[in-house]
């Protein structure tokens, strides 16, 4: 934590950057807000790096890298994949960003802590594998693993794929992270069961657009679902399952570009496991076109915008759909 803060101060003081993108302290220990710091005093007062810095900062760089001067951005492994993907899509002005890679041991989620039955949490401290919570009702302990954000339980990679400088050690991919296990479970269901599963999940959607607005792959200047003139604004759902339309279209649109950062599910106020839709597309892409990880590098051609003679035929959907349906 101190090392990260010190680095932020050093970068500003040396004149290497004019601004720093990081996380700002909140009312509690967990409610940190992404913020741009312009002075050393601001950093000393409010800059935080802790296990509650879940927010992916990369998308902010679309706007920030277009401003005057250079900005330093602290990117965790997940965020670095999003950064590279955005670079690949020419959405970030690279020369205006100084990337500092920061390692991550998995981010915690206050809602996961509360799901353990801990109420009124006002402070936490880590003691080995335990998170000790100070609450309005006395001290309570939860295992650190249970406090982890859902996405961090199946972390695909601790590798920071692009950086100008690195704090600490770089990590590795983890092909055995099991991130597709739930997708496989859904695939094994009958079509009816799967439909029921998604109906139950997506009917909770309140269409707040948090998933879309936080998503680094959703970087359209104007979303089709906000386009009033086109008649696609879709402000109200005709029934409780109409929101599937929005989510399925969104999943298709980010297919091949989604790095699986998991922000969609993190921000969903209704706890809809939206990342499973994206993971299904990633898994399918891997199976049909060979292993591909969006945002892993700047060079590889994304399979869905590339053509090779070995590409599967569109008819593959019939055989894969099962029962010829």
């Amino acid at each position: 934590m101190q090392e990260v803060k010190q680095k932020a101060i050093e970068l500003l003081q040396s004149g290497k950057v004019q601004r720093v993108l990081g996380w700002k302290t909140g009312e509690f220990f967990y409610d940190l807000t992404p913020a741009v710091f312009e002075t050393v005093e601001e950093i000393k007062k409010d800059f935080v790096f802790s296990p509650f810095c879940g927010a992916n900062l990369s998308k902010y760089l679309i706007a920030e890298s277009r401003k005057e001067g250079k900005i330093a951005a602290f990117l965790k492994p997940c965020d670095s994949y999003s950064f590279v993907q955005l670079l690949k899509e020419h959405r970030i002005v690279r020369e205006n960003v100084h990337v500092v890679g920061v390692q991550c041991n998995g981010m915690c989620d206050i809602e996961a802590i509360k799901a353990q039955g801990v109420k009124g949490v006002t402070a936490v401290r880590q003691e080995g594998e335990t998170l000790v919570c100070e609450t309005l009702y006395g001290e309570k302990s939860v295992p650190y693993a249970a406090a982890l954000s859902e996405r961090c339980k199946t972390c695909k990679s601790k590798k920071i794929v692009l950086f100008d400088e690195l704090l600490g050690e770089n990590g590795e991919d983890d092909p055995d992270c099991g991130r597709f296990d739930l997708v496989s479970k859904l695939e094994a269901m009958t079509a009816e069961e799967r439909f029921a599963f998604w109906q139950q999940e997506l009917s909770r959607c309140i269409r707040c657009n948090a998933c879309r607005n936080v998503c680094p792959a959703c970087s359209c200047e104007k979303c089709v679902f906000d386009n009033d003139t086109l008649g696609t604004a879709n402000k109200a759902a005709a029934n409780s399952f109409e929101e599937q339309n929005f989510h399925i279209i969104r999943a298709f649109h980010v297919a091949g570009r989604c790095t699986d950062c998991g922000e969609c599910s993190r921000v969903c106020p209704q706890h809809i496991p939206l990342h499973l839709l994206n993971r299904k597309f990633i898994k399918d892409t891997n199976e049909l076109y060979g292993e591909y990880q969006a945002g892993a590098d700047l060079e590889t051609r994304p399979p869905l915008v590339d053509f090779t003679q070995d590409d599967c035929e569109p008819s593959v959907v019939y055989t894969r759909g099962g029962n010829g349906k």
Partner: protein
């Protein structure tokens, strides 16, 4: 004071013989106001993700249909609430929010759709016994240990205690056995002890009023406050007092359906007019939300703020920016 063993809640709700909505856990484990039927369990959680306002002001509703046939236009109205219903387990904050919504929907011109639901509802509130650190209802003079409503309920280890506050409420619980108040008083004392320790419970809102409107509006710090805002509608949709809506029409082919749906001041098309968007960037949209709750609303409503301190926006904002941070940044000296 009336008393009912917790184990007899189902038979009590059944005996009411009208639709009952209560907070129950959804498949994700979060609480939601749900139509009660046998087997639907009252949640153990403090509050629902979506507030109780949904039952009076739903996210989407059809207002009127225009059916066109030959040269005739038939007008079909949808004001069809005629049955009394019960909302059971409303927390003090949400109950206080009804009074704020009433100021909007029941003042002239009265909103008939809202009023019909309001008139047919019996509200059974539920006192809090374990507030969260995100709660700050006390800042608005709300007593979570003694909420309003037609009936106030307290839940102890093994029993519910009910107190009727209105004639309607009295009828609702007339059949129950009498109970002793001491258990309720003990719980209230305990809850109030916690309420006095809420981290934001003494939020100072001095200076948030009509007299300081332009000073607040022109504050330079709106820029840093709104900087990280994603422009999503989470805060507005989980808020028990947000009341803005849009009215639109949908052409089904032979019928025009006029509906209304929640709108969010965070959205780019909010109050968009032929001349364009009056709040072109997120800064203006963000400022609108908090100016409305903390300045415009009290200025138009005898000093009543458009916030009840339920803490939902504190819990749900994806980037953790919320009304408490706004109030502390551009607000009263008393916030330390």
């Amino acid at each position: 004071m009336k008393k009912l063993p917790i184990t007899e809640l189902d038979s009590f709700l059944k005996s009411l013989n009208m639709p009952v909505y209560l907070p129950s856990d959804d498949p994700s484990g979060q609480a939601k106001f749900t139509r009660w039927a046998e087997g639907v369990q009252l949640t153990q959680q403090l509050n629902t993700v979506r507030s109780a306002k949904d039952l009076f002001f739903p996210q989407m509703e059809n207002l009127v249909d225009f059916k066109v046939q030959d040269q005739k236009i038939e007008i079909i109205e949808h004001r069809n609430v005629s049955e009394n219903f019960v909302i059971f387990g409303v927390r003090a904050c949400d109950a206080a929010a009804f009074e704020i919504l009433d100021r909007v929907f029941l003042s002239d011109p009265v909103d008939g759709y809202y009023k019909e639901r309001r008139d047919h509802a019996l509200i059974v509130t539920m006192a809090c016994s374990a507030p969260e650190e995100t709660c700050f209802c006390t800042a608005f003079g709300i007593d979570a240990a003694d909420p309003k409503g037609d009936v106030t309920a307290w839940k102890t280890e093994d029993s519910f205690f009910f107190r009727a506050n209105t004639g309607k409420g009295e009828k609702l619980i007339a059949g129950l056995a009498d109970g002793d108040e001491s258990a309720v008083q003990a719980q209230q004392a305990q809850t109030r002890e916690i309420l006095s320790k809420l981290p934001n419970g003494k939020l100072d809102l001095t200076g948030f009023d009509g007299a300081h409107m332009m000073e607040k509006f022109n504050d330079s710090r709106w820029k840093e406050l709104s900087e990280a805002c994603l422009g999503c509608g989470t805060c507005t949709f989980v808020c028990p007092t947000c009341q803005c809506y849009d009215v639109r029409e949908f052409n089904t082919g032979d019928t025009i359906q006029r509906f209304r749906c929640w709108d969010s001041c965070m959205y780019s098309d909010f109050t968009k007019m032929s001349a364009g968007q009056p709040r072109p960037t997120q800064l203006e949209r963000f400022r609108q939300r908090f100016m409305h709750k903390l300045v415009y609303f009290p200025d138009n409503n005898d000093g009543v703020y458009g916030c009840v301190g339920c803490g939902r926006c504190l819990q749900k904002c994806p980037i953790h920016m919320n009304i408490v941070k706004v109030a502390k940044t551009i607000g009263g000296e008393g916030n330390g």
